[in-house]
Amino acid sequence: MDSKGILLQIGPFTVRLDSCIEVVNRSVHKLYEGYNFFEEKPDVFIDFYIRIDRPNFYRGYLRSQVQCYVDGITPFKPLPIAQSYPFFEWGLNWIIASHVHYYLLIHAAAVEKNGHVLVLCGEPGAGKSTLCAALASRGWRLFSDEMAVIDLKTNEVIPCVRPISLKNKAIDLIGDFYPGAIFGESFKDTAKGTLSHLKPSKESVKRFEERAFCKWVVFPQYREGSETCLTSIEKDKTVIELAKNSFNYNALGSLGFNSLCDMVERSHCYEFEYSDLNEAITLFDELAC
């Protein structure tokens, strides 16, 4: 197998990726530029091993499919070879969400400004990645687009900076909004439609070890033509919604409950409806002042 192992530090995790699929290696080197790539040494602990490869001759060459092997197992069905790179990102999401129980993991985007973290939580399609990408393009430091990682002891949010996954209309929207945006390749006809990844800023990547506390929990909802509207919501509702959107809340038991309550205790909680990204950013910039 012509496989080149890539070892990189992604937030608090060390990941080894092996793939002989060209687009995977090319995309990783482009989108993860500036990350800590390193050589495998006996004293380096690897958290996750991911391999993206053709599964066998029939699937790999006759049907042009790839498989994602995470820590040697195959939890997914093979996908078309054209979706090899998203498969790596999804595989990484899956392995973190299903194996990391020493942090509280919430399906949410997180960005930081002036030492305070804004957590954006919502159902898929609510517009959290779009808003996260827009904020990250205007001076907010990206922590994560996919999952907010919370330290169970200190309650700090831990950066887990990765490329922002944008879908369908959001790709052009952010491309127009942020002319300096660097995108990876576009992947069409995935389960989520067309997908492209936005490279995180150098600043976000460089400061990947700087944690901060959450100050705002926001449930955004993009609605075409809507007014920008930020509405306070109760903390009990916020805890319950965040618990529903957590990957491992149930596995953590009381520890997860108390960690979530502590986080919400110190945060302002809102529902947010928007259609205009400039207005949204102005509003959040004012909050952060």
Binding site: D236, K237, V239, I240, S254, N258, C261
Partner: protein
């Protein structure tokens, strides 16, 4: 009502040890590790659950301990509210009844 309380006194109530509850801002929440359920509580239910976490109680203990949190209710109303709250907490796996 006396009969009802007497009947209730034949059972004791207790919170499961896997139950946690706390105040967050102006809200009250409880978590049960038995079924991983998180629920929002009224102040009254929160005080009741806190009492049951600290020790098991029969109905009359509970009525006297909770009376201070529902001063606007007469004893019939208090009993009704208690009964409803107990049922909800039992259904959601936060407390259980045991023979006295």
């Amino acid at each position: 009502m006396f009969l009802l309380v007497s009947l209730f006194n034949k059972v004791k109530l207790s919170a499961y040890k896997e139950v946690d509850c706390r105040k967050v801002g102006e809200s009250y929440l409880a978590y049960s590790n038995l079924n991983s359920e998180t629920i929002s509580l009224s102040y009254f239910a929160y005080c009741m659950l806190l009492s049951l976490i600290s020790r098991e109680m029969n109905m009359s203990d509970l009525m006297s301990s909770q009376a201070q949190y529902a001063k606007e209710l007469n004893s019939d109303e208090l009993l009704q509210v208690l009964e409803k709250t107990i049922n909800e907490l039992v259904i959601h796996g936060f407390i259980y009844k045991l023979p006295n």
